[in-house]
Symmetry: C2
Subunit: 316 residues, 2 copies
């Protein structure tokens, strides 16, 4: 997989943004560590998902790509694939839940994607479109090229900051976590890679601890990017092999982190993207050392930001 991550980096050169790394003296003090934030919120379409989607589509044979692409996603992967389709001049269909936020539908439509709302199992409908029209299914995480694309974020991060003792990565379906773990271990085999999940969506943590794939009923966590029901067939074994630990954070800690990033660091980060900072601010992960945190995305619902910014936390 490491070779595939390097290949992905070549494909993404000049197409994905090299996202900046930010630091904060206040955060260093609070975490008792030297903290580096990899801002994938500034990636194209506002999240790391562009990396995996672009790499997966660029890896397809031209004649297959031409037939079109399909996926199921209400969120960042859908937006990312929509832009990737636009860049490649190929048709994209995104199957979304009927109650998807209109702003997200608009974003996908603005990139020229066809959006199909449905109440049934979206992955079944996406597979049906694949069978009937020959669209290639680009799933949100459980595909080697998607995982390899996400791993380029960590490769780039180590290039920018040289050494990291710890790397914190949000975990939903595990594409970003597994890809980043493989890249991080190649840069520094001693780097501790820790996946962070909301306590309300702790299926991956339980899977990691029991070494048996666990699922969860739709988790109503504010971190909507981690509402996946389980890790994938590919991502689960990769996480068992390359990740050192999994930790969970409370909903309150997540809102605290969103607020800190917004008010103190002037960074717009969505709840799923703030999981690593939540772990630091709530003491779930502590220093010393050089701690890297992947801020995975910035596509926050303005109402959530308001909630985070105006609620006074009892913890500080």
């Amino acid at each position: 997989m490491l070779a595939e991550i390097h290949e992905a980096r070549n494909r993404l050169r000049g197409r994905a943004h090299i996202t900046p790394v930010m630091t904060s003296g206040t955060l260093n003090e609070l975490a008792a560590a030297e903290v580096f934030l990899k801002c994938e919120s500034f990636q194209r379409t506002g999240s790391f998902k562009f990396r995996g989607a672009f790499n997966a589509v660029a890896a397809l044979p031209e004649e297959q790509r031409r037939f079109g692409l399909v996926t199921y996603s209400s969120g960042n992967h859908g937006q990312a694939l929509a832009l990737v389709g636009l860049l490649h001049g190929t048709k994209v269909t995104v199957v979304v839940p009927a109650d998807t936020n209109p702003a997200k539908l608009e974003a996908m439509a603005a990139y020229g994607a066809t959006v199909i709302k449905c109440t049934a199992d979206r992955s079944v409908i996406a597979r049906d479109l694949h069978l009937r029209h020959g669209f290639t299914l680009i799933p949100p995480f459980d595909r080697a090229e998607v995982i390899a694309g996400q791993g380029t974020a960590a490769l780039e991060f180590f290039d920018q900051v040289k050494r990291l003792d710890v790397l914190l990565v949000p975990c939903g379906g595990g594409g970003l976590l597994s890809g980043c773990a493989i890249a991080a271990k190649s840069a520094n085999p001693d780097c501790q890679v820790i996946g962070i999940e909301p306590a309300m969506a702790d299926d991956a943590t339980r899977s990691f601890q029991t070494r048996t794939l666990q699922t969860i009923d739709y988790p109503a966590t504010i971190a909507d990017g981690t509402r996946t029901l389980s890790l994938g067939e590919l991502t689960f074994p990769l996480i068992l092999d390359h990740v050192d630990d999994m930790k969970t954070v409370t909903e309150e800690a997540i809102l605290d982190a969103v607020r800190f990033l917004f008010l103190r660091m002037k960074l717009v980060v969505e709840p799923s993207g703030a999981l690593g900072v939540a772990a630091l601010l709530s003491g779930v992960v502590t220093g010393p050392g050089r701690i890297g945190v992947v801020l995975s995305g910035g596509n926050i619902d303005p109402e959530i930001l308001v909630k985070a910014a105006t609620v006074t936390s009892p913890s500080r």
Copy 2:
């Protein structure tokens, strides 16, 4: 003044952040130009004001600095001077209007400043404290070292992007605008430097056009950093000499710009900081060419961000 800007840069080295420059394909398309955003929102204390305050205080003789510092400001200059005092281990007193936002008072207090609320003319009280206690008054803009410090933002900007055909700078009291104009002309004498003001606070534009200092009654613009009543004795002639034009933008255009920066670019920028982007998005300034924009600060009231993010503009 150019020599003083270079001197300020030396003083600020390792003390002020070198703030990143961000770009956006969408913004380039909308503005029909190549646009570069200098993110002073990521400066220490969240605005460019740290540059001028630090330079002015660093330039004081040690024995004078020891007596303490005073200023009048409800906003970014007060926060900046509070941190500068903390860094220099000297007492800071900030005189603020009685109705100042509690979050801003808290930020100044967190840096150890003494905050005095008053309803009378704040500058008179600040001068009185100067006379009675020997505190040195560091005014928000009308002082050479303050202007020179702000000018370092443009010097650094040209270092980062090499060439700019146009530079857009927000204008309140004119410290940032005059300092940046001098620095920009030294880097590229052909660079057009344009000051941007809210139409509701257009005193500097009228002063520029009539070449006579104009004042304004307290302007209730959303861009609270530009609510100064007039340019200063120092900044006005510098602006006449070094600035090419002044333009105004509507309140709606300012909110539009805040929204664009937040939703599309994931940047937290306060209304005064978004004036240049407002000019581009509303067509007040147009391409082609390489256009630099100083995003002067990110200390936005969360409620204003909510308003910007949720109001649907009829213009797009």
